[in-house]
Subunit: 430 residues, 2 copies
């Protein structure tokens, strides 16, 4: 890509929370910034599960990247896919634009869900990382109710009203809680033939408690809240096999059981982007790059890896969790390191400031821990709602989501219960 | 479908404006109403082009049918597809529920766009009837700008910035106007490399004027408004061939020209649903059933055909146009005929009351004719906006669309500019 180059070029791969904040930090600085993403939008992933649960529309949690940087002269946005990195020659190769040279490179490609070596499960147990994932799950869930209502008069309907959520982290807990509420408060009134007792939602967690990143008493609180919504929480349970119409679960005891289901949602385990395997770097078991205290690659101080893609040892010696605040803070840190053109020896190590973590379990139910203080119930939920609306990227979306939530809070009618049949097209958009 | 039947059963195929209004008219009447639709939502088609133009989100112009009839005891909603009718035995066959007997049948299946015998054009020149169509066009348009901006530095970009709209009726005019505005006011500021002069939008009309259903001076006004937005209006021009990267157009003079384009939108010609070919009835050239003055089938006074699917001779001897008001009025008429159990000889003929027609050309630009009076410009646009918001099916959507329009009017930033790559899935939702 021949560009007449006046200033050093910073190439950023990925416009998630990490990459976006690197670019924002470099606005109007004497650098030529190229921000690359596979999609044309920045996605507010913490609310993605609400799109899957038909509560929000895609446009309410996503904003076009170009619009975020509209009028910014030194940031150029490209919709393209980074496919390989050559650190020594300082070249990043893009799918359609080809080779791009860089002075600084920030890799923030994020991660995909991992099926622990069973990638074939992906078709039947979609994960939740992209808007496409969320719409796919939404259609599976809504269509299941239609099927169940049809079959009611014919044969077995249980399969369609059984929803399996795999993984007891925040995402799994949030989607399970949301499904329980939507099912009870929204779908049942529209399907008079179906009864509450027909709906079964399982949350399957391999560890001995859900929300393991939270203090035990909050895990316990979350479990009780979920069960009060009718979710069956199975801990010490691992998925042995996934088929199109059932899942096989193995208990710690060794006992295995099969559960018939038409909807399996995968919220367990992540694998960092394959992009990180295209150059020589030490990776951990999740495919994350082991980075130095300044988020840079060993031997390559001008190449940084941040967010989900990085294994950054936190103060407790464990890698920092794959949370937005980590990515945001790393993005800002790397942005300022580049802006100040700090040589490696002058870079203060990155420090993650943990403002706290939270997970919502449903309407007016949540758990949060901040500065060692635990919150539960309405207060935690209010905190959660406030923080999430506050951090939505555009003012317009803040407005929209707030309106949707207030509306839902009053009417129990979520906003986006559409089944949009996707016609198989000869020529897709790209 | 064995249902213990207490009241006469009214089966309605299609929950568009026609079918929906039949069902609404029969709420709480001594009839067992079964409302069937392929999708789970009622679609407000007059605004579908705004979804295609990335101005609105699908959920803003659609509402779940079940929710519309929530709590209504005598109306049952089924998501299913009617595949054939047996008038003499009074049986409707559904794709998944199988055979259903009826006492009254209302066929309101609508229409698909017709390619005048060239169905192979469909893949490259999508029409605009469903949310899936609209999202497909939205992705084509948005992706084209990304391609153009990439190629700018390499080769020919014109193809990606040339948009062909085929058909000069209201839909064609509205989509062409919307594309021109979105291109100029929204996309260009986000693509600094592209210039206004790079964008070319053609509106191709076979007749000698666009909006032929309107008075000539309004057609002229619409043409001038479109051209002021940069749309090139080609009348007396027919499409000879459609390929993935170009369209061949033949002028009345006989001259033909090829235009390179990546985006062709088909807004010409309709074909009524194939369902109408599954029983013996006289059809017109567009596959519409010739109905009697009470919208019923000759020889079958208990079977009605309404909306796009019906050829109903209007006062001027021509078939009524395929507009929402016609479908709505026919739906209410048939509903009350059934409700009153009128025998054929006691049914007053259906009369269409033409409140007027309107088409919008862009922000604050529209044409309208009502009671012989023509409106143009802001007044017509305001009328248009008011009428469309007023008739949106749910209060929530009225609110949402109003907010979106006010926002867009002020900021020129439409609401749904997302390219959502659709992953090819092994198992689709149905």
């Amino acid at each position: 890509m021949p560009l007449k180059q006046k200033y050093p070029r910073v190439v950023i791969a990925g416009a998630g929370f990490g990459g976006l904040n690197v670019a924002k930090t470099l606005i109007d600085s004497p650098f030529e910034v190229l921000l690359i993403d596979k999609t044309n939008h920045h996605l507010f992933q913490p609310l993605l599960y609400q799109v899957a649960a038909a509560a929000l529309s895609p446009a309410e949690i996503a904003a076009p990247i170009r619009t975020i940087f509209r009028g910014v002269r030194n940031v150029q946005v490209e919709m393209d896919e980074a496919i390989s990195v050559n650190p020594s020659q300082k070249i990043l190769t893009l799918k359609s634009l080809g080779e791009i040279s860089f002075d600084y490179l920030v890799l923030a490609p994020g991660s995909r869900h991992s099926y622990f070596g069973h990638s074939e499960w992906g078709a039947d147990a979609p994960g939740l990382k992209t808007l496409d994932d969320a719409l796919h799950i939404r259609e599976k869930v809504l269509t299941s109710f239609e099927h169940a209502e049809h079959l009611r008069r014919k044969t077995e309907t249980a399969k369609y009203l059984t929803f399996i959520v795999v993984g007891g982290g925040p995402t799994g807990v949030e989607i399970a809680g949301a499904l329980a509420e939507i099912g009870k408060n929204t779908m049942l009134p529209d399907f008079p033939i179906l009864k509450q007792s027909d709906i079964a939602i399982f949350l399957v967690e391999a560890g001995d408690r859900i929300l393991s990143a939270f203090p035990p008493q909050l895990s316990e609180h979350a479990r009780l809240s979920l069960e009060s919504l009718g979710v069956r929480v199975m801990c010490n349970a691992t998925v042995q096999d996934v088929k199109s119409d059932c899942v096989e679960i193995k208990r710690k005891s060794g006992a295995t059981e099969q559960i018939a289901t038409a909807t399996i949602i995968w919220a367990a385990g992540n694998n960092a982007s394959p992009l990180l395997q295209t150059f020589k770097a030490e990776l951990d078991d999740n495919g994350r790059v082991l980075v130095r205290s300044d988020c840079s690659l060993p031997d390559h101080p001008d190449i940084f890896v941040i967010g989900d893609a990085a294994n950054f040892k936190g103060s407790n010696g464990n890698p920092l969790p794959g949370l937005c605040p980590v990515a945001i803070q790393q993005g800002r840190y790397v942005g300022s390191v580049i802006k100040k053109r700090l040589s490696p020896e002058n870079r203060k190590p990155f420090k993650y400031f943990d403002k706290g973590t939270m997970a919502t379990i449903g309407r007016a139910k949540a758990v949060a821990v901040s500065a060692g203080i635990s919150f539960t119930g309405f207060l935690a939920w209010f905190l959660w709602a406030f923080v999430h609306i506050y951090f939505l990227i555009s003012f317009r979306n803040r407005l929209r989501v707030m309106v949707e939530w207030i509306w839902y809070y009053i009417t129990f009618q979520p906003g986006a219960r559409l089944i949009i049949q996707r016609m198989q097209r000869q020529s897709e958009t790209r």
